[in-house]
């Protein structure tokens, strides 16, 4: 169904990060918000994406924000970096989703929901590292990879899952010895993203706890946030709810804190 060669081919096809993006991220890393905005302006698609993103209702700005200097200024260094990473992942998303009932708009909404949820969590956990705040951007890459690899095999996947409650991550692991999150890690390497981001997202898969307590705790929060988000009606209808297995036991010790933070009745 899916071979290791197919995965390697997929990874190879991922374009390297553009110079504009690399420089923008590097300037953001140095805290040079205005300079970063000047560079980012040269990439019209990035500018348009950022404008659309921050003006989504979930970000809660009362007035429309359209100037990139203003956007980076409002977001601050960490959230700006997260937004640029979101754009990079967005570039990977297909024009036409096959496995999941998603489109450009709904995928952006999903990114925004995860980002704002993660922001709430990192603030609560008093984690102000840029890498940790940006880590959430990589999580939806797992959905893009799943759609790319399994999209043409929908019938096979459905038949297989009609006899065995097996998630896509496990199918891939059993077929090729690597899972969706390993491929996400490959993306971080290709784009020279921080290894901490990959570690958190690997832990957030729920099946690969980290030996580093801090990373593992962040992985738990991210895993629970993912399923909190994937339990939204639009995401269930998109077929996202069961693309990976929810590990309830993994998040058992943080659930109460999470439900208080998210005000779950």
């Amino acid at each position: 169904m899916i071979t290791k060669e197919k995965i390697e081919g997929y990874i190879q096809k991922i374009p390297p990060s553009s110079k504009i993006l690399t420089v923008t991220l590097s300037l953001l890393n140095e805290g040079e918000l205005i300079k970063a905005a000047q560079i980012a302006k040269q990439d019209l698609a990035l500018s348009a994406y950022l404008k659309e993103l921050v003006n989504k209702p979930i970000y809660g700005f009362t007035n429309s924000v359209s100037d990139l200097n203003q956007i980076f200024g409002i977001l601050g260094v960490s959230k700006s970096q997260q937004a640029v990473y979101n754009y990079m992942i967005h570039l990977l998303s297909p024009d036409q989703w096959k496995l999941f009932q998603l489109n450009k708009q709904s995928f952006e909404n999903l990114q925004a929901e995860l980002s704002t949820g993660w922001q709430k969590i990192t603030t609560h956990l008093q984690e102000d590292s840029k890498e940790i705040q940006s880590a959430i951007a990589l999580l939806p890459a797992s959905m893009i990879v799943a759609d790319a690899l399994f999209g043409e095999k929908i019938d096979d996947v459905n038949l297989l899952r009609s006899v065995n409650p097996i998630d896509l991550n496990t199918i891939l692991q059993r077929l090729c010895g690597m899972d969706l999150f390993d491929i996400c890690e490959e993306i971080t390497k290709k784009w020279e993203m921080s290894s901490e981001i990959a570690e958190i997202v690997q832990a957030a898969s729920g099946v690969k706890p980290s030996s580093n307590t801090k990373i593992d705790t962040l992985g738990k929060w991210m895993h629970l946030l993912l399923f909190y988000t994937l339990s939204k009606p639009t995401n269930i209808e998109a077929g996202l709810n069961d693309f990976i297995d929810f590990q309830v036991e993994y998040v058992g010790d943080i659930y109460e804190e999470f439900s208080t933070l998210m005000e779950i009745a």
Binding site: L159, S162, R174, Y228, S231, D242, D245, F246, Y255, I264
Partner: protein, 464 residues
């Protein structure tokens, strides 16, 4: 979301958070309709991967339970929860708990008539005395040994000695239990469960098309689990007499197990015995006696009534059958298939050693049977994806092979549906060796296609 059906139990497994806003997305009206049409003993909703639920979130499933029970009398309920969730459900439905609650899937299986593993030592406790009794009766009826703890203290003391029991049951509640004619396969015997009063309705509830196709696929032993039958009238007597006569033409055996003649005239027994039906008191008398099983036909399938030939429609659809099979095996083994040869004749298997087989029948607009002969290594490889690990346990390989052939059957059903042929599929039958398969197939003519997967020879045979 659709239920995953295995061994007569359908399970829904929602993940994450379950509330009034999202439950409609988990369970649409179409899903409910499809569930009501399933031929199952039990419909369960697993809460294992649900971290949060409220009453509104459960209500949609509870409404589905009512529909399913009205449609096919299956047992319905929730399973896989901890004590906190159990308390919450009881609080939500305090005065209206008319569905069952099973603390785990393994516990639910014990109450399903389709459960293969009998004779479990089960320690059980419920605060409610009538629940304790109801559970013990059901477990006993299903062939287990229930041990009831009368007090919580006694339960705690006994459950410390966990090794003494196969299963320990608490936080479980039996709502209305199901009553339907169920079908399950134990080894290669098909077991139907009948209950309460057997009358003229048996003709409507018994799936005769399924039975006939099971005969055609090669099943030869049919057991009616009649422990819960109160009485039988003359209409049911006629029905079973006719069923026995028609099955005799296939050299098949029909048995009744656990039928009491307290309220059924004893003359009925003589009439049924004259028609060739056998009576046993306990299921173990048959299932645990391999010699008897063989004698009754569970491992044999000779003397096929009709040697039917392939027809034009089936031959026209042959590429679809092969495509469905090849695609499935390719998917499961991650290897490419090469077609070596094809011929129309009786099945010919050159090397019999190290091979296992499976067959599945289809019936409806067209009917027939697909037989697949696997080198055990291919079967193991194909099953690895489903099991998740390497195994040499032949029984497990055969069980998983049955699932794999079920996938092939499902695919055939879909492909034929696309061509406008509506068909249903039978349960898959497995054969631990080639000789067992040949007992069913050697006199049948059909299309044989020899295929290679990574140099392993694999055989596809389509017949009627």
């Amino acid at each position: 979301m659709r239920a995953l059906v295995k061994d007569g139990i359908g399970v829904f497994s929602p993940q994450g958070f379950l509330d009034g806003n999202n439950v409609i997305s988990f369970l649409s009206i179409d899903d409910i309709e499809a569930t009501a049409k399933l031929n199952v003993d039990m419909i369960l909703v697993s809460l294992k991967k649900v971290v949060f639920f409220n009453r509104n979130g459960l209500d949609a499933f509870v409404k589905m339970f009512a529909k399913v029970r009205a449609a096919n009398h299956a047992t319905v309920g929730f399973c896989d929860y901890d004590e906190k969730k159990f308390t919450a459900i009881n609080k939500f439905y305090k005065d209206d708990l008319n569905f069952s609650l099973f603390s785990s899937y393994a516990v639910a299986e014990l109450f399903a008539s389709s459960f293969k593993d009998k004779n479990k030592n089960v320690l059980l406790y419920s605060e409610d005395k009538s629940q304790r009794a109801a559970m013990a009766i059901e477990l006993h009826d299903n062939g287990h040994n229930p041990i009831i703890a009368q007090t919580q203290e006694e339960f705690k003391t006994k459950s410390k000695n966990a090794n003494a029991y196969d299963v320990i049951i608490e936080n479980t509640y039996l709502g209305q239990m199901g009553q339907k004619i169920a079908t399950r396969v134990t080894g290669n015997a098909i077991i139907y469960t009948v209950s309460s009063f057997l009358d003229t309705q048996i003709g409507n509830t018994f799936n005769i098309a399924y039975h006939n196709n099971s005969l055609n696929v090669g099943f030869r032993l049919f057991i009616f689990d009649a422990f819960k039958v109160v009485s039988m009238n003359v209409h049911a007597l006629n029905f079973f007499s006719k069923l026995a006569s028609s099955s005799a033409e296939y050299n098949a055996t029909i048995c009744f197990v656990g039928l009491s003649f307290e309220k059924t005239p004893i003359e009925f027994k003589e009439t049924l015995e004259d028609a060739g039906i056998l009576f046993y008191e306990q299921m173990e008398e048959i299932l645990d006696n391999k010699e008897l099983l063989k004698e009754l036909g569970a491992s044999s399938a000779t003397n096929v009534k009709n040697k039917r030939t392939l027809n034009k429609v089936i031959v026209t659809e042959l590429p679809n059958f092969i495509e469905a099979t090849v695609e499935t095996i390719e998917m499961m083994t991650n290897s490419k298939a090469i077609k070596d040869a094809a011929k129309v004749d009786k099945i010919e298997i050159k090397e019999k050693d190290g091979k296992i087989a499976s067959s599945i029948g289809f019936y409806g607009d067209i009917d027939g049977m697909v037989m697949l002969v696997f080198p055990i290594e291919i079967a193991k490889q194909a099953c690895e994806l489903l099991i998740g690990e390497e195994t040499n346990d032949t029984e497990m390989i055969l069980d998983t092979l049955a699932e794999l052939v079920n996938i092939v059957g499902g695919k055939i059903k879909t492909l034929l549906g696309e061509q406008g042929h509506r068909v249903d599929i039978t349960l898959p039958r497995t054969y631990p060796n080639v000789d067992a398969l040949l007992e069913v197939a050697q006199e049948k003519k059909g299309v044989q296609v020899d295929l290679s997967f990574n140099d392993d020879k694999f055989l596809f045979f389509l017949t009627r």
